[in-house]
């Protein structure tokens, strides 16, 4: 789960991680009081959306930049008014962009130098890793490829956590000295504490800055969380912003379905993430394009399958449906029952190809055959994919 920058900064404050003073609001009426709470000096006006690349983004009305530096209160108010409820398009939003519903005002920072800092779980070592670089504000992937020697890492033993000397080593490698090195080490140490305590997937500070008064500060913040651990973090769940999610994906999450909207016209309903991905791949191989990724999971009920059907059919792009089930935990007769109930509930008018294999396959096939619903059945995955692609192409 992703959260906004201003929410991440609230967590930073709780964990004693220094960052520029800021205030966020979704209401025009509160712009002035937010700005007034910051004190004198430059004001940074920041659009709050989950996608990156905000600074270089463009609003659909032509206004440039989702992050602006204002010299006066009037200028800050003008920027905020132009951003709020406007749609920001960045390299990460896709052409449709995202509506900005919250504005975050922060004090302008006295930047001496920019750095990169992140903490994430490293799959290869099964341990958290702190990643830092002297090159802040740039794309870290590019840096990793071109100048890997400028990236420093500290691997953490998860049973004892990040040790103070590891945080210090990173600070020294980044070139900090004296008290500032201590401040940087402290920031890294607290950031790790937050990463671990909140079950974060990743915490990224890009840039981390040094200031001319000898301090360090987290200028930006990008934080995401392990969705499997949200059950033990009600405070984090409260940060969820449904405006940032596809309505179909929100609906799917209510039924514990794993759904991702895609651009094609063939909907698929599959059990198992690997098979769901492979089903998208084979639709593509047969000349079609998948409208979604949908894994109904291991223990789906008829109710969940019905919900899944309603969700995929609510996508107007969908011209045909492929159901591909290889039953293990999931029993084929349960899927068949769900398909039948859903088809009746939504008065299905799109071509449907079903391929069933696995536990209780014969009962499942019989239920479908006796249902009176028009279903093309398939014997193998390749057969199923080719059939739905051909049917959609012909219609």
């Amino acid at each position: 789960m992703n959260i906004h920058e201003y929410q991440a900064k609230q967590l930073f404050a709780q964990y004693g991680i220094p960052c520029p003073k800021g205030a966020a609001t979704s209401s025009k009426d509160e712009f002035e009081s937010c700005i007034d709470s910051l004190g004198e000096g430059l004001i940074v006006v920041k659009s709050q959306i989950h996608a990156g690349g905000r600074g270089k983004g463009t609003f659909t009305d032509g206004f440039q930049g989702g992050v602006k530096l204002a010299k006066t209160k009037e200028e800050a108010l003008d920027f905020a008014n132009r951003m709020l409820n406007n749609t920001l398009v960045t390299v990460q939003t896709g052409p449709a962009g995202r509506e900005v519903q919250t504005i975050y005002f922060t004090e302008g920072a006295d930047i001496e130098k920019e750095y990169y800092l992140a903490i994430l779980m490293d799959r290869a070592t099964s341990a958290p890793v702190v990643v830092a670089s002297t090159e802040g504000g740039v794309e870290i992937e590019k840096l990793a490829e071109e100048t890997p020697e400028k990236i420093f890492k500290a691997f953490v033993d998860p049973s004892i956590g990040l040790q103070a000397h590891q945080a210090r080593n990173i600070a020294f490698k980044l070139g900090f000295e004296g008290k500032q090195a201590g401040a940087c080490a402290n920031l890294i140490f607290n950031l790790y504490k937050m990463f671990w305590d909140t079950d974060a997937d990743m915490v990224e500070v890009n840039p981390l800055i040094s200031t001319s008064d000898g301090g360090v500060s987290a200028l930006d913040a990008k934080v995401s969380f392990d969705s499997n651990a949200l059950y033990r973090h009600k405070d984090i769940v409260a940060f969820r912003d449904l405006n940032e999610e596809d309505p179909k994906e929100i609906e799917a999450s209510k039924f514990d379905l794993n759904y991702i909207a895609l651009d094609g016209n063939i909907a698929c309903l599959v059990n198992g993430a690997g098979l769901a991905m492979a089903t998208m791949d084979i639709i593509n191989h047969c000349g079609g394009e998948a409208a979604n990724f949908l894994d109904v999971g291991g223990g789906a009920t008829a109710e969940q399958v019905t919900a899944a059907f309603k969700i995929i059919l609510s996508d107007p792009k969908v011209e045909g449906i492929l159901v591909n089930i290889f039953g293990g935990i999931m029993q084929c007769d349960v899927i068949a029952q769900g398909v039948i109930e859903a088809a009746k509930a939504v008065s299905l008018d799109k071509p449907l190809v079903v391929r069933l294999e696995g536990t209780n396959v014969e009962q499942g096939k019989k239920l479908l055959a006796d249902s009176g619903i028009e279903i093309t059945s398939a014997d193998s995955l390749a057969d199923a994919a080719q059939k739905i692609v051909d049917i959609v192409a012909a219609s």
């Binding site: 779980m121 799959r123 499997n228 599959v270 492979a278 593509n284 995955l381 390749a382």
Partner: protein
């Protein structure tokens, strides 16, 4: 012959009194697996399906019934603790089916696991089956057939797909290992390939991967050096949209790897015959095997 599990394996199911734990324990027993005990804290003394004693602790199941393998079926918030309990009880092989264990919990489990000689399969996996002898997990038993093809996969249902194709072609499986789809798992592709490579009764290998991480690239290095047996592969996720569930900074640690293209290239360079679609895994096996 086979790897990991056989007719002599003595299995304890943790979470046996739960709905799906009970359902699948019964399915495994029907297949012929020796399910010797169940564990549910507070329900010790009950009897499952009229024959399997339920204990409060894994240690009791080991001392009383000689369990040497565990199948973990408890819900995600308690699953890491259940795995750690199995380690403390001296269980040699732990197969964790549970999906949705927090990654921080697994990081701690992995650390502890590396200090022992035990092996963990999963979590978030379909389990392990040696056809005709022992099924531990949630896979449908009837699609399997005793034989000489070893199968390892990160995805449950894709494993069934591969198994079914192999069986339909008239061949069988030595053992099928579902290593699970989580970022931190107990056994990776390379570990499983080593087992198959050293097993005299495994003649050919099918390896199924998916996007994310670099386990398939690492396995390809091992294959290049050590594996002389015919081996086929498939990678799911060629058309998956980039950026979803793959963290921004994740790319730093794994370098340029993680994409389906990189994995397929690494596998082909190691001599693996990579199936173009999931429906071609059987045909690719015949090609690699010269059948």
């Amino acid at each position: 012959m086979s790897v990991l599990v056989n007719k002599d394996t003595r299995v304890v199911f943790t979470g046996i009194t739960g709905k799906s734990g009970g359902f699948h324990a019964k399915q495994c027993m029907d297949y012929g697996t020796q399910v010797v005990a169940g564990v549910t804290p507070g329900k010790g003394g009950q009897v499952f399906e009229g024959s399997v004693p339920v204990y409060n602790t894994v240690t009791d199941s080991v001392s009383q019934e000689g369990a040497n393998t565990a199948c973990v079926f408890v819900p995600p918030p308690f699953a890491a603790d259940s795995i750690l309990e199995c380690l403390d009880a001296g269980i040699e092989l732990i197969i964790a089916i549970t999906e949705g264990i927090p990654v921080n919990d697994m990081a701690k489990v992995k650390k502890k696991l590396l200090e022992t000689n035990a092996r963990l399969i999963g979590p978030n996996c379909p389990g392990v089956i040696t056809p005709g002898e022992c099924k531990i997990g949630i896979m449908p038993g009837y699609i399997h057939k005793p034989g000489t093809v070893g199968i390892v996969s990160r995805s449950g249902t894709l494993t069934y797909e591969a198994v079914w194709q192999v069986t339909s072609l008239g061949y069988g499986q030595s053992t099928c290992i579902g290593i699970g789809g989580d970022p931190i798992n107990g056994t990776n592709h390379t570990d499983a390939l080593k087992l198959f490579n050293e097993d005299p009764d495994t003649e050919a290998i099918v390896m199924i991967g998916e996007i994310g991480g670099d386990a398939e690239e690492k396995a390809s290095e091992y294959i290049k050096e050590h594996v002389k047996k015919p081996i086929v592969g498939f990678i799911a996720g060629t058309t998956a949209p980039p950026g979803r569930r793959m963290g921004h900074a994740g790319a730093i640690v794994s370098g340029g790897s993680g994409t389906a293209e990189a994995k397929i290239a690494a596998m082909e360079a190691a001599g693996v015959v990579v199936a173009k679609t999931p429906s071609d895994m059987g045909a690719a096996l015949l090609e690699a095997w010269g059948k």
